[in-house]
C-alpha cells in the first residue's frame, strides 16, 4: 500500500506547454472499452518488444472487510491463486465432496468454540483432529500450485498480487505470443474459483502478519498509528488483519466477499505492450463476457468524525526509534488534493526537501525523514504522513519539535517561486520516467480509471498541480496541519524487567 502512495506522488505534473501535446500523442496509443457486464479494459500499445503486461485492479480492499473479519480481502487474494474446477485438481467431483466435508467439520468446530468457557476440551480436540484429517483428504485431490505453475511455464514474469486498503491488484507479464493464455487464466480465476487449501493458506496469511507487522517495528507503529488516528472509519483496521480475526476466517466468508465485490463493473483491467486492440477486444469478449453482470457494491458510508484534539500513541520496542506524525486530510477527489502533493514535494523531495535539509543534513538528528501526501489510501479522507528515523543518539522528541518548526514556518513564510517550480518540474519528470514500463503503465492506467473514472487523470492531474500557488500551500498548511487534528505515533524502549513486573 505504501508503494501505491509513492507511485501516486510520482504521477503528477507536466507543464502546461508540454502536457497537451504529450497527452494527444499518448492518446493515439490507448484504446479503452467496456464489456456489456461492465468490465472496463484499457490498452496501451507499446510495440518495442514482444512482451505484454497485465494488471487487474479490483475496487475492493481491506476497507471492505466485514466487521470481525479483518484480513478477509487479503485472504481472498491468496485464494485467487488456488486455481479453478479445472486447474489445480486431480478429480474435481471427489475434491468438491472432500471440501464440503472439511466445511462441515469446521462448522462443528466453530460452534463448539463459540461456547467459550463452556466448550468441551475433549470435543474440541477431537474435532480439531477430524478437521486435520479432512483437510489432508481434500489435499490428496490437489495438483498443488498448478495455476501459478502454468503461468511460470509459459514464461510469465513478475507474477504477484497486492491487497491494499482501497483495492486489490493482480498482475504479471507474458511473452506477446501468449496473450490469450492471460485472458483464459484471468477470466477462469474469477469465473470458477475453487477455495481449496483454505485453512493451510490461512496459516500462511497469519504468517505474513507475523512477518510484516509482528516482527517489524515499523509495521507495528503503522498499525498503531492508524488504529489511533481513525475512530470510526475502517482505515483504522490493518490490511493484514488482526491475528484472532485471521484465525477464524472461513471459506463462506471468502465466497461472500467474492460474490459482493468481485463483480465486473467493480474491476478494471490495464494492459500494456505488444498487442493490437482488435485482438484484445476479441479475446475480452470471448473470455470475460462470460462473467455475469452484478450490481456494484456500496462504498463505505461511515464518515470519520472530526478529530478534536491531538492523539498520541507510544509503542514499546527494543529497537532504534521511529516517529510518525499524521494530519487528517480530505480524500483524493477534493479540490485541495494536488496541494497536498505539492506540500509533500516541498517537504520530501530527496536532498532539496525541507525535511532532509533541516533534520538530516543541518541538524543531523535524523537518519531519514520522509512524507507521503496520501496515507493509507485516498478514496476516503485520510492522512498526510511524516515518517522519521532519528539518527543514533537523537530522540523522537527532538525530531518532533524540528518537524513542527518547519510546519509553523510554512504557515507564515510563503514558499518561494524556485522551490514551487522545482517541485512541479520533478513531478513532471517522474511521470516521463515511467512511461517506458509496461508493468508500470498497465498499473497506472487501471489505477486512474478505477479511482477517478478516467485514465487521462494521469496527465490532467498535472494541470491541477501546475495551478497550485504559494497561497494555496500556505492556506492548506494553516487549515489542515493543526495540533488538534494530528496523531503522533512513536516508539519507546520497553520498561526494565523489574519495572515491568510491578505493572
Amino acid at each position: 500500500m505504501r508503494r501505491r502512495v509513492c507511485a501516486l506522488l510520482l504521477l503528477i505534473s507536466l507543464p502546461l506547454c508540454l502536457r497537451a501535446q504529450d497527452l494527444q500523442e499518448f492518446e493515439k496509443r490507448v484504446t479503452e472499452f467496456t464489456l456489456g457486464n461492465g468490465l472496463h479494459f484499457i490498452l496501451l500499445e507499446r510495440h518495442q518488444a514482444p512482451v505484454v503486461s497485465f494488471h487487474t485492479c479490483v475496487n475492493a480492499g481491506s476497507v471492505d472487510d466485514p466487521k470481525g473479519k479483518t484480513g478477509l480481502a487479503h485472504m481472498f487474494e491468496h485464494m485467487a491463486f488456488k486455481g479453478t474446477d479445472k486447474i489445480g485438481t486431480r478429480n474435481y467431483p471427489e475434491e468438491k465432496k472432500a471440501l464440503e466435508a472439511v466445511e462441515r467439520i469446521y462448522d462443528q468446530l466453530e460452534a463448539e468454540q463459540a461456547r467459550g468457557p463452556r466448550a468441551d476440551p475433549g470435543k474440541l480436540a477431537a474435532l480439531e483432529a477430524e478437521a486435520a484429517s479432512a483437510v489432508e483428504k481434500a489435499a490428496t485431490y490437489v495438483d498443488p500450485n498448478a495455476y501459478p505453475r502454468i503461468i511460470e511455464e509459459n514464461g510469465g514474469v513478475g507474477l504477484n498480487a497486492e491487497t491494499g486498503v482501497d483495492s486489490t491488484n493482480y498482475y504479471y507479464s507474458l511473452p506477446a505470443n501468449r496473450v490469450e493464455l492471460w485472458f483464459l487464466l484471468e477470466s477462469e480465476r474469477f469465473l470458477h474459483p475453487v477455495f481449496r487449501e483454505f485453512y493451510k493458506e490461512r496459516d500462511v496469511v497469519r504468517m505474513e502478519r507475523r512477518n510484516r507487522v509482528e516482527s517489524d517495528p515499523e509495521g507495528k507503529l503503522t498499525e498503531m498509528l492508524l488504529a489511533t488516528s481513525f475512530a470510526a472509519h475502517p482505515y483504522r483496521e490493518p490490511t493484514a488483519g488482526w491475528a484472532s480475526d485471521i484465525e477464524h476466517l472461513r471459506v463462506e466468508d471468502a465466497r461472500a466477499f467474492f460474490a459482493q465485490y468481485y463483480v465486473p463493473a467493480n474491476m478494471t483491467i490495464g494492459i500494456a505492450g505488444d498487442v493490437r486492440p482488435a485482438e484484445v477486444k476479441r479475446l475480452a469478449d470471448q473470455y470475460f463476457s462470460l462473467l455475469p453482470s452484478k450490481p456494484l457494491p456500496h462504498p463505505i458510508f461511515t464518515v470519520e468524525p472530526r478529530q478534536e484534539g491531538e492523539k498520541r500513541v507510544a509503542v514499546e520496542t527494543p529497537s532504534q526509534p521511529f516517529l510518525a506524525i499524521a494530519y487528517k486530510r480530505p480524500n483524493q477527489i477534493e479540490k485541495d488534493d494536488p496541494v497536498f502533493d505539492v506540500i509533500s514535494g516541498i517537504l520530501d523531495a530527496g536532498r532539496t526537501g525541507l525535511l532532509y535539509q533541516q533534520l538530516v543534513r543541518d541538524q543531523r538528528i535524523a537518519l531519514s525523514a520522509e512524507s507521503e501526501a496520501t496515507f493509507p489510501a485516498g478514496r476516503y479522507p485520510n492522512l498526510f504522513l511524516i515518517w522519521i528515523a532519528p539518527s543514533s543518539g537523537h530522540t523522537v522528541e527532538e525530531n518532533e519539535a524540528a518537524v513542527y518548526a518547519i510546519v509553523e514556518r510554512l504557515k507564515t513564510r510563503k514558499v518561494d517561486a524556485q522551490t514551487l517550480a522545482r517541485v512541479k518540474t520533478k513531478l513532471r519528470a517522474s511521470l516521463i520516467r515511467q512511461l517506458d514500463s509496461n508493468e508500470g503503465m498497465a498499473s497506472e492506467l487501471a489505477f486512474y480509471y478505477a479511482n477517478y473514472g478516467n485514465w487521462r487523470k494521469l496527465f490532467t492531474g498535472l494541470d491541477e498541480i501546475g495551478r497550485v500557488t504559494a497561497d494555496d500551500v500556505e492556506r492548506v498548511i494553516r487549515e489542515y496541519f493543526t495540533a488538534s487534528t494530528r496523531t503522533v505515533a512513536f516508539t519507546v524502549p520497553p520498561p526494565a524487567p523489574s519495572e515491568g513486573a510491578s505493572q
Binding site: P144, E201, N211, Q286, Y287, S319, Q320, A349
Partner: protein, 487 residues
C-alpha cells in the same frame, strides 16, 4: 464502444442464436491453446570505442522518451577496504557526490540538479563502484557537466564526511533491528568467514579511523580513465554524444597502475547451527547453505535448474511442501546464487512461526538431501526448462537490459554472447545432469544454518536437528575514542 457491447449481448442471446458462430458458454482448456512463435529477438546496436585516455565508452541510442542517462562503472569495491578501516569504500562512494566538486558544494549541486529534475549519484559496493546520471534531453549539457565534475574532481568537503559518519553510525546502531537483515548478514559472514573482506562489516571503530585523506587516496587509486567503463543511453545522436564526451573528458588523463584482482575467497566449510536470539519478533528467520560457484562454471546451468526445482518459485519443492502443504512459512526459497568472479552462495532462506522453527529447518534439510539422492522428475525438469525458455524474451524487453548485460560481461571478463551460451546449456540440462551436479556441489553436511528468533518458543529445540548449536553474539562493539579526523 460501450454502446456496441451493450447492444450485442442481448442480441446475440435472442435474434442471432442460430447464427454461424455462437459464443461458447465455456472457455477452452489452457492445454488447447496454440501459440504462434515469437518474432526473432531485436538486439539493439551499441556503439563501443575507447577514448584516447583509455576510458571504454558504450553508446546506446533510444528515442522512445526524451531522457538521457549514463553510468561510469569503476573497478573498485569494498573488498579493497583496509581491515582497520572497513567502510572506507562505502563512505568514498557516498561523499564523492554529497561532498561537491572543485567549483560547487554538494548543496549547490543538489539544488541545481533538482531544479531541472536531473540526478547524479555515486556509490561503491562489494565488487564495483559507479557514478550515474539522468536528465531530460533538454538538460543534457548541464547533467553531463555535473557528472564529469563528480567523476573527475570530487572535493570530499569535511562537513559531508561528518554527515556520512553520522549516517553510517546510525545504520550500525540499527543493524540488529530487522531480523531478515540480521539472518542474511550472519549467514553470509559465517559462510565466508572473517579471514577475508567477504565476511567483514563496518564497526564504530573502523568508521572512526577513516579520515578525509583516506577518502581522497581511495578515490585517486581507483578513479582513473583506464579503469572505467562509461555507458550513455537515451535520446541523443551517437555522433553528437561522442563529441560531447570527447570535449568533457579528453583532458582527464590521470593514470594509476592497473587495479589488482579482488582477494580470493579462502573460506572453509563452517557447518553447524548458529542461533541469534531476538525476543522482540514473532517469527523465526532462517538461512542455510554453503559456498556456491561461479556463473562460468560448466555445471552452473544444471545447478540453476536444481535450485529452481528446489526453491525457485510457486511450484518449487520447498514452496509446495513448507508453505502450501505444511503452512509453516510465508516466505521460503532456494537460490544457486552464482557470482561472476568469486564463489557465490548456495542458500535456502525462509521465515516461520516460532513453534515450527526446528520442523521447518528439518523439512528444508530433507528437501536438500532429496535433491541430491534421486533424480528430479521429468515434469519438474520440463517446468524449469519451459520457464527458462519462455521467459528468455524478458532479458531483452528493454534496450538498457542489453547494455547493462554487455557492461557486466566486459567488467568481469565474460564473452559478449554469454547469455546465449548459457541459455543453450540450460535447455540441454538433463535429469542426470541435475543429479550429478547436485551430488558434486551440494553438501548437506557442510551447511551453515543460521536462525534468528526466540528459542524459548521454538517448540522443539534446535539441538533436535542433531547438530551443534552455537550462539551468535549480536552485541554491537561500542564506539571508542575515534582516531580519525574530518568531522
Amino acid at each position: 464502444m460501450r454502446l456496441r457491447r451493450l447492444l450485442l449481448v442481448p442480441l446475440a442471446a435472442t435474434l442471432f442464436a442460430q447464427g454461424p458462430a455462437p459464443r461458447k458458454a465455456e472457455a477452452p482448456s489452457y492445454q488447447e491453446l496454440k501459440f504462434p512463435p515469437l518474432p526473432p529477438l531485436k538486439i539493439p546496436r551499441i556503439e563501443t570505442y575507447t577514448m584516447t585516455n583509455g576510458m571504454r565508452v558504450y553508446l546506446l541510442e533510444d528515442h522512445e522518451l526524451p531522457l538521457v542517462s549514463g553510468l561510469a562503472l569503476v573497478r573498485t569495491g569494498n573488498l579493497f577496504d583496509p581491515p582497520e578501516k572497513v567502510g572506507l569504500a562505502a563512505m568514498t562512494g557516498a561523499v564523492m557526490r554529497t561532498g561537491g566538486t572543485r567549483t560547487k558544494t554538494g548543496d549547490q549541486l543538489d539544488t541545481e540538479l533538482d531544479d531541472i529534475a536531473a540526478s547524479v549519484e555515486s556509490s561503491i559496493g562489494e565488487t564495483s563502484g559507479e557514478v550515474s546520471f539522468s536528465a531530460l534531453r533538454e538538460n543534457t549539457a548541464e547533467v553531463l557537466a555535473a557528472f564529469h565534475d563528480v567523476l573527475t574532481g570530487p572535493e570530499f568537503r569535511p562537513e559531508k564526511i561528518g554527515l556520512a559518519k553520522v549516517q553510517m553510525r546510525s545504520e550500525i546502531a540499527r543493524r540488529n533491528d530487522d531480523a531478515e537483515a540480521v539472518a542474511e548478514r550472519e549467514f553470509v559472514d559465517s559462510v565466508y568467514g572473517k579471514d577475508t573482506p567477504y565476511g567483514w562489516q563496518v564497526e564504530y571503530a573502523t568508521l572512526g579511523r577513516i579520515s578525509r585523506d583516506d577518502l581522497v587516496a581511495f578515490y585517486r587509486r581507483y578513479f582513473f580513465p583506464a579503469n572505467i567503463l562509461l555507458a550513455v543511453y537515451g535520446d541523443f545522436s551517437t555522433a553528437e554524444m561522442k563529441t560531447r564526451l570527447e570535449g568533457l573528458f579528453h583532458t582527464w588523463t590521470d593514470r594509476q597502475p592497473p587495479v589488482p584482482p579482488f582477494p580470493p575467497v579462502l573460506a572453509k566449510p563452517n557447518p553447524g547451527v548458529f542461533l541469534a536470539e531476538k525476543e522482540d519478533i514473532n517469527q523465526t528467520v532462517f538461512y542455510m547453505g554453503h559456498l556456491g560457484g561461479l556463473l562460468r562454471d560448466h555445471d552452473d546451468p544444471a545447478l540453476e535448474v536444481m535450485a529452481d526445482i528446489l526453491g525457485g518459485g510457486f511450484s518449487s519443492r520447498l514452496f509446495k511442501r513448507i508453505r502450501t502443504s505444511l503452512g509453516y512459512a510465508y516466505s521460503i526459497g532456494a537460490d544457486w546464487d552464482a557470482a561472476y568472479d568469486h564463489p557465490g552462495l548456495f542458500e535456502i532462506s525462509g521465515s516461520t512461526k516460532p513453534g515450527n522453527t526446528t520442523d521447518a529447518i528439518a523439512a528444508a534439510r530433507q528437501e536438500v538431501e532429496r535433491i541430491r539422492t534421486s533424480e528430479v522428475t521429468g515434469a519438474e525438469l520440463e517446468t524449469a526448462s519451459e520457464t527458462a525458455v519462455n521467459s528468455f524474451v524478458f532479458h531483452f524487453d528493454t534496450p538498457t537490459k542489453t547494455l547493462a548485460r554487455l557492461l557486466r560481461y566486459e567488467y568481469y571478463g565474460y564473452p559478449k554472447d554469454f547469455i546465449f551460451q548459457f541459455q543453450k546449456s540450460l535447455a540441454e540440462v538433463t535429469r542426470a545432469d541435475v543429479l550429478r551436479a547436485a551430488q558434486a556441489r551440494v553438501h548437506p553436511a557442510e551447511m551453515t544454518i543460521v536462525a534468528v528468533g526466540n528459542p524459548r518458543e521454538f517448540g522443539k529445540p534446535l539441538t533436535a536437528l542433531g547438530l551443534p548449536v552455537h550462539p551468535i553474539d549480536l552485541a554491537i562493539p561500542p564506539p571508542q575514542a575515534a582516531a580519525g579526523a574530518g568531522e
